[in-house]
Amino acid sequence: MARAVTPRRKAINTALAWGIGILIFFPILWTILTSFKTEAQAIADPPLFLNFDWTLENYVTVQERSNYFRHFWNSVVISVGSTLIGLLIAVPAAWAMAFVPGRRTKDVLMWMLSTKMLPPVGVLVPIYLIFRDTGLLDSRIGLVIVLTLINLPIIVWMLYTYFREIPGEILEAARMDGAGLRSEILYVLTPMAVPGIASTLLLNIILAWNEAFWTLNLTAANAAPLTAFIASYSSPEGLFYAKLSAASTMAIAPILIMGWFSQKQLVRGLTFGAVK
C-alpha cells in the first residue's frame, strides 16, 4: 500500500529537491555568469551576481585566439567515434554474459572493471611510446582507440545490467520462430533494450567529451579537443577567470544541450529495471 504523502512533506521534498538541484547546477551557472563579466568584475569582492555590466568581450577574445570549431569537431569525432565502436563491441559481449553466462562470467566482468582501478598516469609512458612508434600521437584515431578501451568496461557493465532485466524467454521464443543470432540481437534484444543502450550511449559520450587526461597528454595541435581548448585559458600569472569561463561555457554548451534534450532517455535508462 502506498504511503500517503502530506502536503507539508511534499513541500519539504520539493524544496529539498530544488535545493540540491540548484546546488549541483550552481558552479555551471556561476561559470556562465562569469563569462559575461570583465576580468576585474570576475574577481570582485564581494562577488557580483547579476548586477554587473554584461559584456561579450570574452567570447570575442576566445573566438579570435582559438579555432573553436576545430576543437569542437575533434571532440565530436572522438566522443561519438569511441562510443559507437565501444557499443559495437559491448553489445555482443553483454549479450553473451547476460544470456549465455559461463562459470567465469562474473570474474571476467570484475576483471574488466578492475582495469578502471589503475590510475591512468601509471600507463602513460608505455602508451605514449606505443603511440609514438605507431604514429598515433596527436591523431583522432589514436584517441578514439584509447577512449574506446577506457570506456569499454563501463559500457559492457551497463549493457549487461540492462540485458539481465530482459526475460530470456522472449529470446527463446524468437529462436523458436527461427531467428538467428544476428536477428535475435538486432531485431529482438536491441529494440527492447533501447532505453538502456541510449542511456549508455549518452553517458559514454559525456564521459568521452569530458575526458581530460589522455586528450591532453596524447594531442598537440591537430587532434586536440575542447578539453585542450579550456586548458589553454588558465594562467599562473595574470587574470584569466572571465576568459576561462567563456571558453568553458563554449566547451560544455554542446554537451549540456544534448543532455537537456535527452534527459528523458537518460533518466529512463538509468532507472531501467530499478523498479519492479
Partner: protein, 439 residues
C-alpha cells in the same frame, strides 16, 4: 570539348593545390604558455609568416603546469610533437645537459645575442653556449601603495631591508578596513611559495645544500627566514594566506587590500593598469629586501624558446626564434600595441630606449632587480647548484613541492616553524640519498 575543359580545370585546381602545399611545406608546432606576452606573439605571427611564406605555424597553448608536464614527457621520450618549446630557466640547464636541446649556434647575425641581459643569458647557457632564447624575463620586487605608505609616515627606500618591510607592514595594516600590510605567496609548490621563500632565504644567508649536497634546513639562517616569513603573514597578512599564489595576491592588491606585495616584476604592468586595478595611480616599486649580506631576496626567471633535439625543422625553428626574440619583434609590438606591452627583461637595448622608459614607469626597477640576481652564484655561501629560486636538478620539482607543503602547513598553523624545518630536512635528506647525491 566539355571533357577537355573539365580535365583542364581539374589539372589547374590540382596544380594550384600542389603549389599551395609546396608554398607551406614546413609546419612548426610551437608549445607555449598562456600569458599576455605569448598570446600577443601569436597575434603578431602573421608578420613572420609573411616573411616566410614557406613556414606555417601551429600553436599549442597550455597552462604552465600542464605545459611543463607535456613538454617534459615529449622530450624525454623523443615524441617529436613540438618543434619549438616554451620552457623556463629551471628546465634549460637540466635539458641541455641531457642533450635534449639544440644549441642556438649559427643564428642570424642581426639577432644580436650580445644584447641579451647577462643575468638572463647566463641562466639559459651551459658552458657558455646558449640553449634557449629569452622571450621575456622577470625578477621579483616590492610593489607598494604610495598613499598608505605616506599615511603611515614612512618612506620606502629604493633598496629596503627586511626590518623596514616588517616595520612598514605593521604600520600599514588596518584589519578592520581589510587592509593588510603585506601579501606574499603561501600556496604550496616549488614555483609558488618556494620560489618566494628560497629567494628570501638567500638574502638571509641560507641555502638549500652545502657544497657536498647536504640539505641545510637545520641552519639558523633558514630558521630566521621562515620565522620572519610566518611572522609577517600571520600578523600583517590577509586571512587564508596559505592558499594564496600570484593570482590571488594580484586580485587582493588590485582591490586595494595589500599595503605591500613582493612578487614577479611582470605584475607591475597589471597593478598599474587602470582598467583592472583600483589602485593603479598609487603604486610604487622598490628592490626586493635584503639583510645586508650581499644578496637580495629576488628571483630570476625567463620564459624562453628552445628547440628540442631531433626536430625535423631545426633551420625553420631557428628562423622563428630569431624573429620572436629579435629586436625587430620589440619594434613590431611597440608599433602595434605600444611600448608598455613590449616583452620585458631580455635585452639591454630595451632599457636604453627612451620611449620604452617613458611608457613603462617600472622599467628601471625591473632591470635593477634582474641585474641584482645571479643564477650562477645565488647564495651568500657557496653552493654546488645554479638557480636563484630553484635548484637546477631534476629532483627539485618533487622535493621543492614537498618542502613547500611543510612551510604552507606551518603558515596554516598546522605545525610550528621548527617542525616544518625538521620535516623539510628529513624529506630532503631522504630524497637526495635516494637520488644518489649523498650517502
Amino acid at each position: 570539348m566539355k571533357t577537355l575543359t573539365r580535365a583542364l580545370l581539374g589539372a589547374t585546381a590540382l596544380t594550384g593545390a600542389a603549389a599551395l602545399a609546396s608554398a607551406q611545406e614546413t609546419t612548426l608546432t610551437i608549445a607555449t604558455v598562456n600569458n599576455g606576452d605569448m598570446i600577443r606573439m601569436q597575434g603578431l605571427a602573421d608578420d613572420f609568416t609573411a616573411q616566410h611564406p614557406d613556414i606555417a605555424l601551429e600553436w599549442v597553448t597550455l597552462e604552465e603546469n600542464v605545459l611543463r608536464q607535456r613538454v617534459t614527457q615529449d622530450i624525454a621520450t623523443s615524441g617529436g610533437q613540438f618543434d619549438i618549446m616554451t620552457i623556463g630557466t629551471y628546465e634549460v640547464p637540466i635539458w641541455a645537459n641531457q642533450d635534449w636541446l639544440v644549441a642556438l649556434e649559427g643564428m642570424p647575425e642581426d639577432w644580436n645575442q650580445e644584447d641579451f641581459l647577462p643575468a638572463i643569458a647566463d641562466g639559459l647557457s651551459v658552458d657558455g653556449t646558449l640553449y634557449a632564447a629569452p622571450f621575456y624575463g622577470e625578477s621579483s620586487m616590492v610593489m607598494y601603495r604610495t598613499d598608505l605608505m605616506e599615511a603611515a609616515g614612512l618612506e620606502m627606500p629604493e633598496a629596503p631591508s627586511w626590518d623596514f618591510i616588517k616595520e612598514a607592514a605593521a604600520a600599514m595594516t588596518d584589519k578592520e578596513a581589510e587592509v593588510y600590510g603585506i601579501c606574499l605567496r603561501g600556496k604550496a609548490g616549488w614555483g609558488e611559495n618556494m620560489a618566494f621563500l628560497t629567494a628570501m632565504a638567500n638574502s638571509y644567508g641560507a641555502r638549500w645544500f652545502d657544497e657536498n649536497w647536504q640539505p641545510q634546513f637545520d641552519s639558523e639562517a633558514w630558521a630566521a627566514a621562515l620565522n620572519d616569513y610566518l611572522e609577517l603573514l600571520n600578523n600583517y597578512g590577509p586571512p587564508g594566506a596559505a592558499n594564496n599564489g600570484f593570482n590571488e595576491n594580484l586580485a587582493l592588491f588590485q582591490q586595494g587590500k595589500c599595503g605591500m606585495w613582493i612578487d614577479a616584476t611582470v605584475a607591475a604592468s597589471f597593478v598599474t593598469n587602470p582598467s583592472d586595478s583600483t589602485v593603479a595611480d598609487s603604486v610604487g616599486f622598490a628592490l626586493a629586501p635584503d639583510n645586508g649580506l650581499g644578496k637580495r631576496g629576488n628571483w630570476l626567471w625567463a620564459w624562453s624558446l628552445a628547440i628540442p633535439a631531433g626536430t625535423d625543422d631545426e633551420a625553420a625553428a631557428k628562423e622563428f626564434i630569431a624573429w620572436a626574440t629579435g629586436q625587430g619583434y620589440t619594434e613590431l609590438v611597440a608599433e602595434n600595441e605600444g611600448w608598455a606591452n613590449v616583452p620585458p627583461g631580455t635585452r639591454t637595448s630595451l632599457y636604453e630606449n627612451e620611449e620604452y622608459l617613458a611608457a613603462a614607469p617600472f622599467a628601471e626597477m625591473t632591470l635593477e632587480s634582474i641585474n641584482a640576481a645571479d643564477p650562477t652564484s645565488p647564495t651568500v655561501d657557496p653552493v654546488p647548484y645554479t638557480g636563484v629560486q630553484f635548484v637546477a636538478i631534476p629532483e627539485f620539482q618533487g622535493i621543492g613541492t614537498a618542502v613547500g607543503q611543510q612551510f604552507s602547513a606551518a603558515l596554516a598553523g598546522q605545525m610550528s616553524a621548527e617542525q616544518a624545518l625538521q620535516s623539510a630536512q628529513q624529506l630532503t635528506t631522504r630524497e637526495m640519498t635516494r637520488a644518489g647525491y649523498i650517502e
